[in-house]
């Protein structure tokens, strides 16, 4: 059936290209931001986008990809979220000779055409180094994880932070026992529990901004805003605004869904145009602090 | 073959309900157990059938002491029971219900043809040939479900067959079929223990009669040596001078007038009137359509055609609430399914139809509600006394029935429809009920008494309407009417 799809992409050119997007989940601002960015970029380029959502179910992702193939898309962008890999999806795409662009998430196994994403470890390190500067005489730093380590994105970020602060004896790191589930409500509840058992926290690192925003509120409710600073990851708009205010939300590392999404679609088109492209592209993740927050806000609004 | 029950005691929690009951019977005997509601008949039977354990006492079968730990033990010993409540599985065919746990197999799989064949023979042997083994039990009428229950009990060739008020839902031919069956079983040397409130049956069938009052055997006798009146006195513990009230004064004007009322498939062109101060009986065989008529009058099902007038004004009830507020009340025939709320207390059940009657602001006036309910409990002598807080399922069948009657009388109805109100109710309680409805009638209410009990349908009423196949097939003044006449209208073909 693969040559059939060959024809598909052939007459596909004639009536404008179709790019399929396989989202592992759209249940979070980061991921549906990615999805929107791809669509927005496509409009400019006159490319049709068919986006699917697996609701966080790896099998559904595989079948969604199969559905996309049935619909004769010319290329598929996989926004794999926390997925480590999707061999089945990649295999069927390979069988159908359809190029695969991975955005944000690089799969450990399986063949893909090209990947565009951040260096999560790096972002963690950035936050760590910034906190080290922020807290010259060290102290207790809490870590709020998004979810289990089956999502190595969070793991990489935390490890980044640890590598920056861990070796410094001035700092003691405490991991919250419970997960924040990548959401603000989770971040709030976890932070509240943390504060109950650790009154002497100096800083909190969250594996994403959404959780940090919840944590920040918990700290505010406990009137500890002056004592505890927060460091997050992603560059979610609300976080940028907090940072710009110059409150206790001091730093985040940009992991721009918008930027990665747009680049992802461009990359797909390049591939379809037969250009030979870079296999892996790391999108740099500038550190965002009070100094530069406003410009990123303006950027994301424009 | 003899079964001996020696000094059986049983207490539920702190309340002892059987104080050392003795009973003896041999093969071919029909031992009738009679007693007031709550006397302990069903409890005794549950013990015989292994469903309940006794606290002390002994069971002997053929000189062997029985230790029944479960119904299964009892069945293994050859004791089979047909309970007061129907226990068929409505979702399964009659065949599967009859052969439950003993389905014939071929190569591990069920052999359906053989199964249906066996079921067929079981029903035939029991004399219930009218029932198709392939139909779902749930699709059968209450009466026929009862028959299947009995056939099921016979399937295991019991040596002792226990029947707890089997006749309660049977009438006419069905009842005859049952009696014929019992006689056949007697010849087969089966011991039958037969609980009933219908003393006529008892005296007709029994070889010996055991009268239980409040958990003790007050007399063991034989039909020849006793009379219905004596039995009633023994059961009640007091003399009931007369069962049915005296004739009432000439009734007043028409209160409820029904003209040409029809519901396709249920009843057709039914016309009758109820006059103020009159009690009208309605007899019919099971399936005649009386309950459907009652439900329709009560606004539970829509009138297809015909008219109903109340006090000369046309009425049309779209739901029971409308009927109730117009002054109708319906005591349904099926206590368990449509009469009571098993999960609730006696009090909640009695107050159910009048929740809005006693309120302080938006809230129920608990004190007044409690008082009213307790009044009814004493007025109807609902046992055990002070049972308002007990869950209604803790009451015996008859006392549950009284509670439901109490519920409806609290709505102060002008027209009271009773569908088999004395089903499973003992004589003393029946007399209470007759008195109550008589009092209602005398105070200008109208009562429609649906019953399958010939004696009562004539004795307790002024007129009797007879229904057959959904139509009124006859009307007789109760005065001087005979059971033959009434029964005649209910079966005879052309009226």
């Amino acid at each position: 059936s693969s040559d059939k799809d060959g024809d598909g992409s052939g007459d596909g050119k004639a009536k404008g290209r179709t790019v399929g997007v396989a989202n592992f989940t759209l249940g979070g601002p980061y991921f549906n931001g990615m999805d929107r960015a791809i669509k927005a970029q496509a409009e400019g380029k006159g490319v049709t986008v068919i986006s699917t959502d697996a609701n966080g179910d790896a099998a559904k992702l595989a079948s969604n990809v199969e559905d996309l193939i049935s619909r004769k898309v010319d290329a598929v962008i996989i926004s794999g979220g926390p997925l480590e890999s999707a061999p089945a999806a990649l295999n069927s795409l390979k069988a159908a000779k359809i190029p695969v662009i991975l955005v944000d998430r690089k799969f450990q196994t399986g063949e893909y055409t090209s990947w565009i994403g951040p260096d999560n470890q790096r972002i963690g390190v950035q936050d760590g180094e910034f906190l080290a500067k922020q807290l010259p005489d060290g102290g207790k730093v809490a870590i709020i994880k998004g979810g289990p380590a089956d999502n190595s994105i969070g793991l990489a970020r935390t490890n980044g932070l640890k590598s920056a602060l861990g070796k410094d004896s001035k700092f003691t790191l405490v991991e919250a026992p419970d997960f924040g589930n990548w959401g603000s409500d989770g971040g709030l509840a976890v932070m509240e529990s943390l504060l109950a058992s650790h009154k002497d926290l100096k800083a909190v690192f969250c594996e994403n901004d959404a959780m940090c925003l919840g944590a920040q509120r918990a700290i505010a409710n406990a009137n500890l805003s002056s004592q505890i600073v927060l460091a997050g990851v992603d560059g979610q708009l609300e976080a940028l605004q907090e940072i710009a205010k110059g409150g206790n939300y001091v730093v985040t590392g940009l992991n721009s869904a918008d930027q990665i999404g747009r680049l992802g679609l461009d990359r797909a088109i390049e591939v379809l145009d037969g250009k030979n492209v870079e296999k892996d592209t790391v999108v740099d993740s500038p550190q965002i602090t009070k100094q530069n927050a406003q410009e990123f806000i303006d950027k994301s609004k424009s | 073959m003899t079964l001996e029950v020696r000094a059986v005691r049983k207490a539920y929690g702190s309340v002892e309900v059987l104080h050392g009951v003795d009973l003896i019977g041999g093969g071919g005997d029909v031992v009738a157990v009679v007693g007031a509601n709550g006397a302990g008949k069903s409890t005794l039977i549950k013990i015989l059938s292994g469903a309940e354990s006794m606290d002390s006492g002994e069971l002997w079968l053929d000189g062997q002491r029985l230790a029944l730990r479960s119904p299964h033990d009892a069945q293994a010993a050859g004791i089979r029971t047909v309970y007061q409540e129907l226990t068929l599985i409505s979702g399964l065919s009659v065949t599967e219900n009859l052969l439950l746990g003993r389905m014939p197999r071929r190569a591990g799989l069920i052999d359906w043809t053989e199964a249906h064949r066996r079921a067929r023979t079981l029903l035939d042997e029991a004399g219930f040939s009218g029932i198709d083994p392939a139909t779902l039990a749930g699709d059968l009428t209450v009466a026929r479900q009862q028959m299947v229950e009995i056939a099921k009990a016979l399937a295991s060739e019991p040596r002792v067959l226990v029947l707890d008020e089997p006749s309660a839902v049977l009438a006419g031919r069905d009842l005859d079929a049952l009696f014929a069956l019992i006689r056949r079983l007697q010849e087969r040397d089966v011991l039958i223990i037969y609980v009933s409130h219908r003393l006529a049956e008892v005296t007709e069938l029994a070889t010996s009669i055991v009268v239980i009052r409040d958990g003790t055997v007050v007399k063991t006798t034989e039909p020849a040596l006793t009379s219905e009146n004596e039995l009633i006195t023994l059961m009640a513990g007091r003399k009931l001078e007369r069962i049915y009230p005296d004739a009432r004064p000439e009734p007043g004007g028409e209160l409820l007038t029904v003209r040409g009322l029809s519901r396709p498939g249920e009843f057709e062109n039914v016309s009758f009137t109820l006059r103020a101060g009159e009690i009208v009986g309605m007899f019919g065989l099971v399936g005649a359509g009386r309950s459907e008529l009652a439900r329709c009058l009560f606004g539970d099902t829509r009138v297809a055609s015909g008219t109903v007038h109340l006090d000369g004004a046309p009425v049309r009830f779209d739901h029971p609430a409308a009927a109730i507020s117009a002054g109708l009340a319906l005591v349904t025939e099926d206590r368990k399914r449509t009469g009571m709320v098993a999960s609730m207390s006696v009090r909640d059940n009695v107050a159910l139809a009048t929740l809005h009657a006693r309120k302080r602001g938006p809230l129920i006036d608990r004190r007044r509600q409690k008082a009213t309910v307790n009044e009814m409990i004493t007025k109807f002598d609902i046992r055990p006394g002070h049972c308002a807080a007990l869950p209604i399922v803790a009451l015996s069948g008859g006392n549950q029935q009284k509670s439901i009657l109490a519920k409806w009388l609290l709505t102060q109805p002008r027209v009271l429809i009773l569908d088999e109100p004395t089903r499973g109710v003992d004589m003393a309680t029946r007399v209470d009920i007759y008195r109550t409805i008589d009092a209602l009638a005398r105070s200008g209410h109208a009562v429609l008494l649906i019953s399958s009990d010939l004696a009562e349908v004539i004795g307790a009423t002024d007129r009797v309407l007879v229904m057959r196949n959904g139509q009124i097939s006859g009307e007789i003044r109760s005065e001087g009417a005979t059971e033959e006449q009434v029964l005649g209208y209910s079966i005879r073909e052309a009226a």
Partner: protein, 332 residues
């Protein structure tokens, strides 16, 4: 539901035999007794095994964190009493939260919140009408609602909404003396709700419907109306919970509230409510909420790893209902 009652004669039988003996001597033994013992036990363990427990902050957290489950549990109880179930509450929490946050752009805060709660009631009404009016299985109707309403939350706004107006947070953060306002609201709901269920005709009708809908109908009480009412109440509680949660977190997310219904149901059943309907008490349901909250607190304060927390939470819940069942047996 009617049909459910009819097809389950077992319930009635089981009831008369196994349940009833608990009533001997008039006095009714509610699962409350067991619950109280259990709560004392949990508190004891917490107080002794952790130093964090008795701190003011931790207790305040407990009070805050039980609000959502508490509100949902009360609504759920009302529905369960009718013999139904409401799986859609988690999605309603998400929807009402994001809508309230979205609306305050153009509406005064109280109005925005009121509108959101009204939406919750609306969803409840739809559930109720489908279930009572068309006599569909509550499980499936509310399951479908769960999916649909979650979708609608995302349709309303894919991205979280964090209102700039600080007034939005006040509901979630205000304190009444040492007690969070939201907790006071929850208690109010339980008290008023308790009175409603035990002292008003509608409340008694809801209990009765769970016991035997057919009988209730023949007693001239509209089963439909009361079942719809029950689901509307559940919707209202979910709406309130959603607004409170959003205001507490300060950010409304369309993805919030997944699986909230399960905790609410667990609370009711730990409180001895019967999913068959007709049985359950407000006090006991609140006890169930407390038990769950304390279990979480215990596991957190001991720093138990998250997935071990899940493992233990499940085991503890089973242990709890096991103890209850046993105790009922022993009294029997």
């Amino acid at each position: 539901m009617t049909s459910r009652r009819l097809t389950k004669p077992t319930e009635a039988m089981a009831t008369s035999s196994s349940r009833w003996p608990r009533f001997i001597g008039g006095r009714r033994i509610t699962p409350m007794g067991v619950l109280v013992v259990l709560l004392v036990l949990l508190v004891g363990i917490l107080a002794l095994s952790t130093d964090g427990f008795l701190t003011e902050r931790n207790l305040t957290n407990l009070l805050k964190q039980m609000v959502t489950t508490g509100l949902l549990a009360f609504g759920m109880l009302v529905v369960i009493l009718t013999g139904g179930i409401d799986l859609s509450v988690g999605s309603v929490v998400a929807f009402t939260g994001i809508v309230s946050a979205g609306l305050i752009a153009d509406l005064p805060i109280p109005v925005a919140m009121a509108v959101a709660i009204a939406a919750g009631i609306g969803f409840g009404l739809i559930n109720g009408i489908l279930i009572a009016g068309f006599n569909l299985a509550p499980f499936v109707v509310t399951l479908a609602a769960l999916t649909t309403i979650r979708g609608l939350a995302f349709v309303y706004s894919e991205v979280p909404i964090s209102p700039s107006d600080p007034g939005f947070f006040s509901l979630g953060t205000a304190m009444v003396g040492p007690i969070p306002l939201t907790t006071v609201i929850m208690f109010a709901v339980f008290i008023v709700g308790g009175i409603f269920l035990s002292q008003t005709p509608a409340g008694r009708a809801i209990y009765a419907i769970g016991g035997n809908a057919e009988t209730v109908r023949l007693a001239g009480i509209s089963v439909r109306k009361h079942v719809v009412l029950a689901y509307a109440i559940s919707g209202a509680c979910a709406g309130l919970a959603g607004v409170i949660l959003a205001s507490r977190v300060g950010i409304a997310q369309p993805s919030v509230g997944v699986a909230f219904e399960l905790d609410a149901i667990a609370a009711c059943v730990i409180g001895g409510a019967s999913l068959a309907g007709g049985r359950g008490s407000v006090r006991a349901a609140f006890g169930g909420v407390l038990v769950l909250a304390l279990i979480n607190n215990l596991l957190n304060l001991h720093g138990v790893q998250s997935y071990w927390q899940q493992v233990l939470k499940g085991l503890i819940i089973v242990a709890v209902i096991l103890v209850q069942r046993r105790s009922q047996r022993r009294r029997a």
